[in-house]
Amino acid sequence: MSIRSIRAVLKNKLLLVSIISLFLLFIFLFIFNNVLLFMLFLIIFIFLLTYNFIKIRRKLYDALGTRLMLFITASVIFLFFLLLIVLINGSIDILRDQSLSELILSSTWKPFSGEFGLFAVIIDTLIVTAISMLIAIPISLLSAIYIAEYAPKKFKNIIRPFIDVLAGVPSVVFGLCALLVFVPLIRDEIAPFFGITISSGFSLFTASLILAIMVFPIIISLCVESFNSVPIELKEASLSLGATKWETVKKVIFRASGPGVLAAIFLGFGRAFGETIAVSMVIGNQELIPKSLFGPGQTLASLIASNYTEVSSIPILASALIFVALILFVVVLIFNLLGYLVLRSASKRWKY
């Protein structure tokens, strides 16, 4: 009998042999009271146990590790729903106190007298987001096209870190810069230029400007990515038909990566929509329907930041702020779903 066949037998009957040796162990110890044989079988048993463990160790680790990963992933997905549930649960108080239409359509926000109308804030939010996107989209799209298609390689290597760093600058630093540069600029130059003399500089327009700058890196990096993923054959086909470079960009690259660009814009919108600190530093924090772009306002997110300190003195205010957070969450959810659907339907239609 060769060693290999012994090993094979051991492997097959491993469990059986170890159980038998355990059984014999106890027999020798308790019935025959023979310490020597007991030691012998103990050694055999320990050997078999270790051997068995080494054999199944990798499978054991695999099973445990996979289960652990599954558990963590599942708990994060659970967290997603927990977030939604906690926010809904927290905003029930205010919804019981006032009807939904009253909350959204009334425009008086006076927490101390129990009025929580969000209409003015919602309008301000929409205006600020729209203006910032109007500024950001053309500039970032043109930059993305330049970086992806036109820029020489050296310049590309220089500009990449710029965009990465700009994406990493904390929002409070953006806010501080806006406070130092844009606020005086708008108070002294831009608002008088449009004939408005009483602007303090803390205005919707200031917030939109700084939001536009904050959104640049997101849209640019995502757009460059989707421009770069257009297959080179498409570009070559277009160029070989005699199209100029700009025509190729406009009619081939832009269309082929259209869904990616749209998704990037949606993400940028989400960022501009939910930005809190930079906006609350420069927007003026007054819940008014704006008379002009250079008047103060308040967005949904900055409303939370400027009102949370009074939460402990007015209990219902906490619920109102949670409701505002719920609005932010749901809008972001809807926009992400839209982006996802656009991308999915596009990937079904265009396969290259």
Binding site: M69, V169, P170, V172, V173, I220, Y308, L328
Partner: protein
């Protein structure tokens, strides 16, 4: 097009220049090595060492925790483990979480704090809020680089008899190292700079936090507090804090670039 690129680059240069010009003059050794004093918000005395320590105490545990969770999720999102449908669903959820404004995480933690009857804020809830904020960011970065791992490598690992877990931990992890480093530092940078979630959860203090239930100061919230004061000397201090914060973020960016370059050398292409 060049003009728009210049606008984008110019805005970063402008930000760095403005913060440096305003912040660098009021920066000194004393201001970096002292904690803030009792009359801090009224006068120019004291420093902000407690805010630096507080920020690190918030961002480091949060990034570490988020990193461990994210790497497990990102590895589990490989094709080897789940059906594509489930994976897509998880990715969609993570993308939505990525887009959720940080103030919503702050409100979430504030709600939980109110539910268990805690007022004022504490370090632990700041860490939780930052962890929640960072998980989708880090996961996305690691996931992108794991997607790039060639199938051939995985298959050769399988053919040598490795289990899925061994394959993930020994082959994919090493191959995705640049993305993992980038993800961790990206999350850390985001965590140390984010103000909205911290503002609602950690409160404020003039001292070093002695337990995880204490209130603490942090760099972003300190900037917010200081800049709203009317005294010019106090405002100058806010610019100094912002300068320190900006330097930290720039250092993280440089560090991540050099580390990624280093780790890319050991990758099989």
């Amino acid at each position: 097009m060049i003009a728009s690129v210049l606008v984008v680059m110019g805005s970063l240069i402008l930000i760095v220049a403005i913060i440096s010009i305003n912040g660098a003059p009021s920066l000194s050794i004393e201001i970096l090595s002292q904690t803030s004093e009792g009359g801090f918000y009224l006068g120019p005395g004291g420093g902000f060492l407690n805010a630096i320590i507080g920020s690190l105490l918030l961002a480091l545990p949060a990034s570490g925790l988020a990193f461990l969770i994210s790497i497990a999720i990102a590895l589990y999102l490989q094709k080897d483990f789940l059906k594509p449908r489930t994976t897509n669903f998880i990715r969609l959820c993570l993308d939505i979480l990525w887009g959720v404004p940080s103030v919503v995480y702050g409100v979430f933690c504030l709600t939980i704090m109110m539910a268990i009857g805690m007022t004022g804020g504490s370090l632990i809830f700041g860490i939780i809020a930052l962890t929640l904020l960072e998980i989708p960011i880090i996961t996305r970065s690691i996931d992108e680089s794991i997607k790039m791992v060639p199938v051939g490598l995985k298959e050769s690992a399988y053919s040598l008899g490795s289990t899925k877990f061994e394959m993930s931990l020994k082959v994919v992890r090493k191959q995705a190292m640049p993305g993992i480093i980038a993800g961790f530092l990206l999350g850390f940078g985001r965590g140390i700079g984010d103000a909205a979630s911290i503002l609602l959860t950690v409160g404020d203090s003039n001292y070093f936090p002695s337990s995880i239930l204490d209130q603490t100061a942090a760099l972003p919230t300190m900037i917010l507090n200081l800049v709203s004061m009317p005294d010019e000397a106090v405002q100058n201090k806010a610019y100094a804090v912002a300068f320190v914060l900006l330097i930290i973020v720039l250092l993280i960016s440089i560090l991540s670039r050099s580390l990624i370059k280093k780790s890319t050398k050991y990758i099989i292409k």
